[in-house]
Chain length 190, copies 2
DNA sequence: TCCTATTCCTAGCGCTGCTAGATGTAAGAG
DNA sequence: CTCTTACATCTAGCAGCGCTAGGAATAGGA
């Protein structure tokens, strides 16, 4: 029957609608505003329907985060590709990373501060996350020196993550952001 | 007569009890387990009493965070003081910072990731926070080069913060922690 | 001893994530 | 074409959250 096919298609569409609604609501008003009741109203179904697609609210946030990984990876790839030289690549990639976090704070949070039920440091890391990480690694590779590439990449990433989160929570003045960014870039590109 | 004095003293003791209970509960079970009802039970008063001391749960968390700033500053001071040379000081301070965050995750969160309503521009909080920051600044001062001291300090701090938070949320393997730490230290002490 | 001011508690509001059980609907069997 | 079964979906509700209004108890001063 094509009936079942239609059913499955509609179901997939509804799942997309949930993720899209969650993403939009989170971007517009933050994750606290994303309640299961509001999500249900948004997709025009009742609350329990959400739980036939996702285990819970955390799983919905994780789904939004996975989308974010793809976006971030694309951003980093393009930043590195258009850089004139390796040193400039570090600066451009760092700026692109910070801009991504700045422009989509809620998505960034879902990716890197909340939503713990995603497999990160194991084998089956989301491929888009691995792509983004690999891009960071290629960016800093010319400057690893005697250090381990993976350790340098993770440390560079941590530096970016720290800058971004501390600034967004009001611990660092936004005005000095570029100066800090250039310090970090300097320390990882020589 | 001295009745009012006793009253005020008891009130101050109760406020301390609230903070201590919140701190203990947060350390043992995380901030999610710190509910106003459990807190009230712990100090053997009813829930509304909490609100005669603090504006809300956030303010209680902020009070715990303030205590944390003093502890962290003391830790950093002692780490730097006992270091053999400037380069070793960077390594020791970094290790002390990471250890502090690792051993008191909930307090660290209250200090640097949650509790946004902290009076960052007031007198009490910035004192201990500024002491810790100043200690970081003195630690990296010999290695600022042509950069601005404040920018380098903030960037170094961000690196530590990123390492600590990404590791604790499972984004970075705990096994490689020391390697990452030494990369960060290396980039900020030459 | 009475009055007043303060302290503290009981009870409850509106919200959260989540779920059990009822209800309607569609597919398959006779 | 009818009946039964299985599934999709909804209504209603649970237990918990932060927070607060309003009443009861307790103390201090006249």
């Amino acid at each position: 029957m094509s009936t079942q096919g239609r059913r499955e298609r509609e179901r997939a569409e509804r799942e997309r609608a949930i993720i899209t609604a969650a993403r939009g609501l989170a971007l517009a008003e933050g994750w606290d505003a994303v309640t299961t009741r509001r999500l249900a109203a948004e997709i025009e179904y009742s609350q329990p329907v959400l739980y036939s697609h996702f285990k819970g609210k955390d799983a919905i946030m994780a789904a939004v985060a996975v989308e974010g990984f793809a976006e971030l990876a694309a951003t980093l790839v393009s930043a590195r590709a258009s850089a004139a030289d390796p040193r400039q690549a570090v600066a451009d990639v760092a700026a692109a990373y910070a801009a991504f976090a700045e422009q989509r704070p809620a998505i960034y949070d879902a990716m890197f501060t909340l939503a713990v039920d995603l497999p990160f440091a194991s084998q089956d890391v989301p491929t888009d996350l691995a792509r983004g990480f690999a891009e960071l690694a290629e960016t800093v590779r010319p400057f690893v020196g005697d250090d381990d590439l993976e350790a340098v990449t993770e440390t560079f990433w941590s530096g970016l993550h720290g800058l971004v989160t501390l600034m967004r929570s009001g611990r660092l003045r936004r005005a000095d952001h570029d100066r800090r960014l250039s310090v970090l870039v300097g320390r990882f590109s020589r």
